[in-house]
Symmetry: C2
């Protein structure tokens, strides 16, 4: 029995352990938020002990901040590499739509993580991300399209909200709506692609002159 435990026990690896904890915490915090998430559940999911969480992240709030920091850093990198100016307004918007949906598809927990942050913490940690840079690049595309006559007269910020709403809401409601049509797997690659094409057609028709 003692042997079994020895086998299970992990090889020392600081970096890997931290990643395991962050991955598990991202899921638990996205499901339950800061207050609702349980250190013990995070530890179980990460297959380590609660002591390790305190060892690396001091306490629950420290872990929470670290979990939020990861997407913030990734967005920062993404924005710094994002160049929409070389695309036509329409192509740039299509690119943004595909990026937004691909992001939801590959990071299914993060949107809810930010919703939790919004509703529990009034978005206090949200501020630290470079979202403004991201938004400005997209609204600039809309303004360019309006000037060039490709798009009709629009409020850029409201329109950006509409566009992201079309892209993201599909995923947000998935867990509830799946009960309405249980036979349809909305998260299958095939159905996400259908959603993408439908969203592109919908949005382009909505903003074109």
């Amino acid at each position: 029995m003692a042997r079994l435990r020895t086998v299970k026990r992990q090889i020392r690896n600081a970096e890997a352990t931290q990643k395991q904890i962050l991955d598990a915490a991202e899921i638990e915090f996205s499901r339950h938020g800061l207050k609702g998430a349980r250190i013990s559940d995070i530890a179980k999911r990460a297959e380590i002990t609660t002591a390790m969480i305190h060892y690396y992240f001091e306490n629950k709030e420290g872990l929470y901040k670290a979990v939020l920091q990861r997407p913030i850093n990734e967005v920062q990198t993404f924005v710094s590499q994002l160049d929409l100016d070389h695309l036509s307004p329409e192509d740039a918007i299509v690119f943004v739509i595909r990026m937004a949906i691909a992001n939801e598809f590959h990071n299914p927990y993060r949107q809810m993580l930010w919703f939790q942050e919004a509703s529990q913490n009034q978005g206090l940690y949200f501020k630290q991300g470079n979202w403004t840079g991201l938004f400005e690049r997209v609204t600039k595309v809309l303004e360019r399209g309006i000037k060039s006559g490709h798009f009709r007269s629009l409020d850029p910020m409201l329109t950006l909200t509409h566009i992201l709403g079309v892209c993201i809401f599909y995923f947000t409601v998935q867990e509830n709506w799946k009960h309405l049509m249980p036979e349809v797997d909305r998260l299958s690659a095939e159905n996400v692609e259908k959603h993408t094409e439908s969203a592109i057609a919908f949005i382009l028709a909505a903003i074109r002159k």
Copy 2:
């Protein structure tokens, strides 16, 4: 001092007390979900004691179910009275948009309540609502509009999702995005009206032939 307490103490009123508790719980559960919400915080907000919550609702989960049941019942009533067939497809869609936004405006906590239910409980209690009836009425309008040539060829269910995304996402992200433009009060009647008009123009352009 004892007198003060006597003054504060509530007149017996079962119905009023239950409503106070449900109203407070709706806010706390929408912010923190089932696990994250605190009975003591609900009691404080409702200006009663935790003992009253257990008296009326047995335990935390019983209260949670009761909180979810209220919007389910209201939707049921709304659906049973909803008649979109006497309107033109375009007018019906505009009506749906206005209803959806008005609902967010007047029940600012409920959308998040369902998101919490989705992410914490996989939408298990969500099933009990008559959402299918609501969705069917709207998709029927879309199908009617396609047949009559008012709307282009659309996937009704995906389009319904897009439409609700445009209407609702604005409110969902409010708590986070308010930090990006702190000077704008997105929840003011004036700005919600702007959102509404922008959403109507966006959606109609998106679906018109």
